[in-house]
Symmetry: C2
Subunit: 230 residues, 2 copies
DNA sequence: AAGGGAAATCATATGCGAATTGGTTAAATT
DNA sequence: AATTTAACCAATTCGCATATGATTTCCCTT
């Protein structure tokens, strides 16, 4: 039993027993390696070998400074916007918007309450009254978020917020010339109205199509034409 | 000029000048109110009135403990998974998956490299070899993420990660009975193979359809039937 | 001399208290 | 009477001490 090379195996057995006993208690974090090695009566090296096996097996999860946990690892609690934004570009952001926002509009057409729709219509008026591009963009942001909120699906709303944060980080600084204001015939005004009207009429496909059209207009404006690519 | 009631206006003018001078320097954070009021030679109360005007206008953004910033506010740098997960339910998560994952599969069919596809095929084999449900779920997770990675769109990949983290938080603890292993005729095996094959054949629509079918199977398994709702 | 274990060391993460900052209220001053 | 000033509150950040997993070094046993 004390053969060299079996020490690791013995530690693995003891550790598995410990895990089974602990898993029933609902605890997910196990003691520090220094304590556990002494508690189990095995060397820290052997304990680490056993832990490595279980980690590769996906039964535990280790992280420096935090500890060792049972299960498929503590779900990453927060995600960094800049981590995503740092490795992408405006084209990919638009692609992602074109994928999820039309479907969000579709869900909104299905689930929006009358008060949701009233809020959207109020934002529509405010976009036309915007005196500066900055004001316009704020209200435009608000309107798109109101649509996401009207989907009554907090997961979609959360994904929208992430996407929006990434977008604002990626295109940061790309401000339109200050002082000027959105022209009265700006395409977005009509686009937005079509979207809200489709939602109000519970036209699921129409809402999705209107949103898709709107985003394609924005894309065309943001990225120089590249017809052949599609 | 020293009329009472005009003090606020004077402060607003000075502050706007300060903002214009600072905005060109690229700095987004302005000094603390106590310093700035002394620096501009106005009372803190008047300064705060001016700041309130600019904030309502969307030109600056204030947050306790952090400071005051120019622009439409410092983009929220991190988003908490539990904030999303705490206000949702498995049905909404599945809904969101059904919206974005098929489209991710479509993008993957368009952009996947040969090495991407090879990795997926390897995961396919491993899912069949999984000895426990826990192992199976780990590899299943990996496969879905490989597909998202193959889209070559880091925004979509980031959104997938968020969605995945939310999913794992929402259904946390809903573990299948330990010890048993996935049956050989588990529907996911065939589903996964169809998805990967469609991606390998660059069949965009097929990949999306196969993924949608797969997720609908999973949904049916997770949530008791509710045919009438659709 | 070789192998293995214990201790030292490193890099990362957390916890806590002090300092900072916007928001609010009370006192003081003119 | 009104405004400025100061004091206080609540939320946030920052720095330092501590904890933890990873890695290296040293020493002892055989």
């Amino acid at each position: 039993m004390d053969d060299p090379g079996n020490g690791g195996h013995a530690a693995l057995v003891q550790l598995q027993a410990y895990l089974a006993q602990m898993d029933h208690a609902g605890e997910t974090r196990l003691p520090a390696e220094r304590e556990l090695s002494e508690s189990l009566g095995v060397s820290r090296g052997d304990l680490r070998k056993a832990l490595a096996v279980l980690e590769k097996d996906g039964r535990i999860w280790r992280h420096v400074g935090r500890g060792t946990f049972v299960g498929s690892g503590p779900v990453e609690e927060t995600i960094g916007i800049s981590e995503i934004a740092g490795r992408t570009n405006p084209a990919d952001v638009m692609r992602a918007r074109l994928i999820i926002e039309p479907e969000i509009a579709r869900e909104a057409a299905l689930h929006a309450t009358l008060s949701d729709i009233a809020s959207m219509r109020q934002s529509l008026v405010q976009t036309r009254d915007a005196g500066t591009w900055r004001q316009y963009e704020n209200i435009d942001n608000l309107l798109h978020r109101q649509i996401a909120q009207a989907s009554r699906n907090n997961v979609l709303l959360g994904l929208f917020d992430v996407l929006n944060a990434v977008r604002r980080t990626v295109v940061w600084g790309r401000l339109r010339s200050e002082g000027t204001r959105p022209p009265a015939d700006h395409h977005s005004f009509a686009d937005h109205e079509r979207i809200v009207e489709a939602i109000a009429e519970r036209d699921l496909g129409g809402a999705a199509a209107a949103m898709r059209l709107h985003l394609q207009q924005v894309e065309r404006r943001l990225i120089p034409v590249r017809e052949a690519a599609e």
